[in-house]
């Protein structure tokens, strides 16, 4: 690993650590409705929304009611997004006159964005109108992020409160997170991104006359505009020379900001954050990475603050940071080593003062190895799924890194809210295991962990591996699944495994060679995304409700501290053990065997 690779990591983590306390404290104050100035400034709008919607913010809900409100709100969001896509041809802000995506594609996209996955089986440039992007996709970017955060807040309340039946008001929680956290910071970030060159306009696509003409072969079309084939069914090709380059336009920055800040990850363009109009400079890249990590990291402080012991939050953050550095080194080291088969052709892959070297297939020159692998680790360790390089073209072990990040359940910082609540579930499982080892009743933050919490925690953790492995197994067994594979051999298996891992964890990144815009993948992955999102959420809310109702037991000599190094190691061990035991066999069939083949000559 180069000094620059370590330096960039240090810069990212350094700035993040500086922001954790102020942002974490701010989010705690927002969720408690503390009398701070932003809440006074926005109070008028907040109260207006409550009045319009018939919401009484003071009326708190039990966990079941909270869960039903959440599910109803998310389901309606998916329905609205489906309708917007299917009707986009008849709606305004569609200067390219794009027609509706197919029903299975629109179904997949609606679920994908409502569940914070942002898996994209479509090519945005030629599929989505500006209205579908901003009023459909971007709105779900905000609301799915807010949904994740309020579930984490509900779980924190469950730990912080005692002997009550309620965990908060879902409508007020969603409104506050959106108005005071997501919207203002996304707004500032959007303008900062425009300052770097991210576009923000409503014009139709531009037609440029290039410096040099380009000559290429394409399939001819007949008078009706359909692709032409000869009598044997082979496509008729023709040679075309053109100097025209179409430049896509659109309101990108406003969507880009919340795409990262809400760990959503759905690109305005097909190439996502590798596209120069989404991520033009090294500074925009750093801003986007910071946007991805800030809420998940800061929520650990919010947690510590709300349970009345900030050390608890720092311990969770420490475990996340240690895991993150390990995962980043795995990706960075392997990508910097490069591809021996390409080096053998007389290609220089050495890192010098003039080039990043390494494996540059599917990477941008401005990002090189350091910024590409850091982004790849961050986007899969959280639930973001935006990419600034193409993971499908990573070296076998370099590509296994983002895959394994997701398989750990996205708890290394994790998605906004989802990362914290999933990590707290691991903490509950960790103290349970420790309790078994030392022969005491397990407890976490003064709450006894009993059979109901363990059942719900087990569901929350095990649903993901179950649907990921089952889905991948079905896909490799049927023709419709095998048909999507782009690369031969073990890598093709990795493509399918990656797709279901990404969907089951609501990540959204891809080994993008897979042709996923087929009814089979659209529907299968849609179902996996839905289950992977809402089953754990309901289980977590159940834990929250159950913990809130418990008495708090006082700390004694026998209480295991949950803020020291022992606990941090226990937590890391639990995460690695569950992830490794579940997925190592599958990884052995994909990236590991591919690695052995790559270096076997």
């Amino acid at each position: 690993m180069t000094g620059e690779s370590w330096g960039l990591l240090a810069l990212l983590l350094g700035v993040t650590l500086l922001c954790v306390k102020p942002l974490g404290l701010y989010m705690a104050q927002v969720m408690e409705g503390a009398p701070i100035w932003p809440l006074r400034v926005g109070g008028g709008l907040e109260r207006l929304i409550y009045r319009l919607c018939g919401i009484d913010p003071g009326e708190e809900m039990g966990w079941k009611r909270y869960a039903i409100a959440l599910l109803a709100f998310n389901a309606l969001g998916a329905v609205l997004l489906y309708a917007l896509q299917r009707l986009q041809y008849f709606l305004p802000l569609n200067p390219q006159h794009l027609s509706a995506p197919s029903p299975d594609s629109a179904f997949n996209t609606a679920i994908s964005f409502a569940t914070n996955t942002n898996w994209q089986s479509y090519t945005p440039e030629t599929t989505m109108s500006y209205l579908s992007q901003m009023a459909g996709l971007a709105v779900q970017n905000f609301l799915s992020a807010a949904t994740g955060i309020v579930v984490a807040i509900a779980l924190i309340r469950g730990l912080a409160r005692h002997t009550v039946k309620v965990i908060g008001n879902f409508w007020a929680d969603i409104t506050r997170v959106t108005l005071y956290v997501l919207l203002p910071i996304a707004f500032v970030l959007a303008l900062a991104l425009v300052s770097q060159g991210v576009i923000q306009n409503f014009s139709a696509y531009k037609s440029a006359t290039m410096v040099e003409p380009v000559t290429y072969r394409e399939q001819a079309t007949n008078a009706a505009g359909d692709p032409e084939v000869d009598r044997t069914g082979k496509p008729v090709m023709r040679t075309v020379t053109t100097r025209t380059q179409i430049l896509p336009m659109g309101p990108v920055a406003s969507q880009e900001a919340i795409k990262e800040f809400g760990t959503n990850g759905g690109g305005f363009f097909n190439a996502n954050s590798a596209h120069p109009y989404e991520n033009p400079t090294a500074i925009s890249d750093l801003l986007e990475m910071l946007a991805i990590i800030l809420i998940p990291a800061s929520l650990t402080y919010t947690f510590g603050r709300l349970v009345g012991d900030p050390r608890q939050g720092w311990a969770v953050l420490a475990a996340m940071t240690i895991l993150f550095v390990l995962l980043y080194s795995l990706a960075n080291y392997n990508e910097q080593v490069g591809n021996p088969r390409i080096a053998a052709l007389g290609v220089s892959e050495a890192a010098t003062a003039l080039q990043p070297g390494g494996n540059m297939e599917g990477k941008e020159a401005r990002f090189g190895i350091a910024a590409s692998t850091l982004f790849a680790t961050l986007t899969t360790a959280t639930s973001c799924g935006a990419v600034n390089s193409m993971h499908d073209s990573f070296t076998p072990l370099g590509g296994m890194a983002p895959l394994f990040d997701m398989m750990l359940g996205e708890v290394v910082f994790g998605g906004v809210g989802t990362g914290l609540y999933s990590m707290l579930i691991f903490a509950i499982i960790g103290v349970f295991i420790a309790g078994l080892m030392i022969g005491r009743t397990p407890e976490y933050l003064g709450k006894k962990i009993e059979s109901f919490e363990m059942k719900m925690s087990a569901i929350a953790i095990l649903v993901m591996p179950f649907i990921v492995l089952l889905g991948a197994a079905v896909a490799v067994s049927v023709k419709a699944g095998q048909a999507g594979v782009a690369n031969p051999g073990a890598h093709g298996f990795s493509e399918i495994l990656y797709a279901f891992t990404s969907a089951g964890n609501n990540n959204g990144s891809a080994f993008a060679g897979l042709s996923a815009d087929t009814p089979f993948f659209n529907i299968a992955l849609g179902i996996v995304m839905w289950i992977g999102r809402y089953w754990p959420i309901v289980a977590v809310l159940a834990v929250a409700g159950s913990l809130a109702a418990k008495r708090r037991i006082p700390v004694t000599e026998g209480t295991m501290p949950t803020h020291g190094p022992t606990f941090i190691i226990l937590l890391i061990g639990t995460v690695l053990l569950v992830g490794a035991l579940t997925f190592v066999p599958a990884l052995a069939l994909g990236p590991i065997v591919e690695h052995l083949m790559l270096w076997s000559h």
Binding site: E4, G7, L8, L11, C53, G54, I55, A69, L80, T123, E125, L143, T178, L183, F187, A190, V194, S195, G197, V198, N201, Y205, A208, M210, V211, E212, V214, Y216, V240, Q245, L247, P248, M249, A253, S254, A271, A274, P276, Y277, P280, D285, N339, R341, L345, S348, Q355, P356, N359, M360, E361, G362, A365, M390, D392, S393, T395, H491, S494, G513, L598
Partner: protein, 190 residues
């Protein structure tokens, strides 16, 4: 059920207006006022004609121009409507074939040069629209470009140095150069 459905529907509609309409239009208005050129796409206009964008790469194949990185967009390279990488896996024979073809084209344009080829010059970018090449890839091509244009090599190298971008704070960004801007500057030289 009504106590759930009414707030669910109305809150979704209110949020759609606020986050989906007001927010993007507000950002657009302010962006247009303070960063008009960047919000519009960093377009390059010469003699009243749109030549391209300084952020979006273009294909170059003429020996007198600096070549961009390979692009996997279809059907033609650097197609602005199909931003994509090749997505070829590291063991895929199609990847080594593509790299071989790019090396052969570079060698054919400059048979005297037998130095190892910088890796970014023969591998497809992530977006297929990469506007940059590494400085190594620029200096690798400097001799060919100077000969084809009848310029002293030192002058071409000086031009590269003048347009080069480095690492901010030592860590942000890679040593690189914008190919379209470099070629346009070359045309200005004579």
């Amino acid at each position: 059920m009504k106590t759930i459905l009414r707030p669910a529907i109305t809150l979704l509609l209110v949020m759609t207006v606020l986050l989906g309409i007001v927010y993007p239009f507000l950002v657009t208005g302010i962006a247009r006022a303070i960063f008009p050129a960047r919000a519009a796409g960093s377009l390059i206009i010469e003699n009243g004609r749109l030549v391209g964008s300084r952020l979006i790469g273009q294909p170059f194949r003429d020996p007198k121009d600096f070549w961009s990185r390979p692009s996997a967009t279809r059907p033609q390279p650097y197609n602005g409507l199909d931003s994509t990488g090749s997505n070829l896996g590291p063991l895929n024979p199609a990847l080594t074939d593509a790299v071989k073809a790019h090396i052969a084209a570079l060698r054919a344009a400059d048979p005297a040069d037998t130095a190892p080829v910088p890796v970014d010059l023969v591998t497809a970018s992530a977006s297929g629209l990469d506007p940059d090449i590494s400085l190594a890839a620029a200096f690798y091509q400097a001799g060919r470009v100077a000969r084809a244009r009848g310029l002293p090599p030192a002058r071409v190298r000086a031009l590269i140095a003048a347009h080069a971008k480095g690492r901010l704070l030592g860590v942000l960004g890679e040593p690189r150069i914008n190919v379209l801007e470099l070629n346009l500057a070359l045309d200005e030289l004579r």
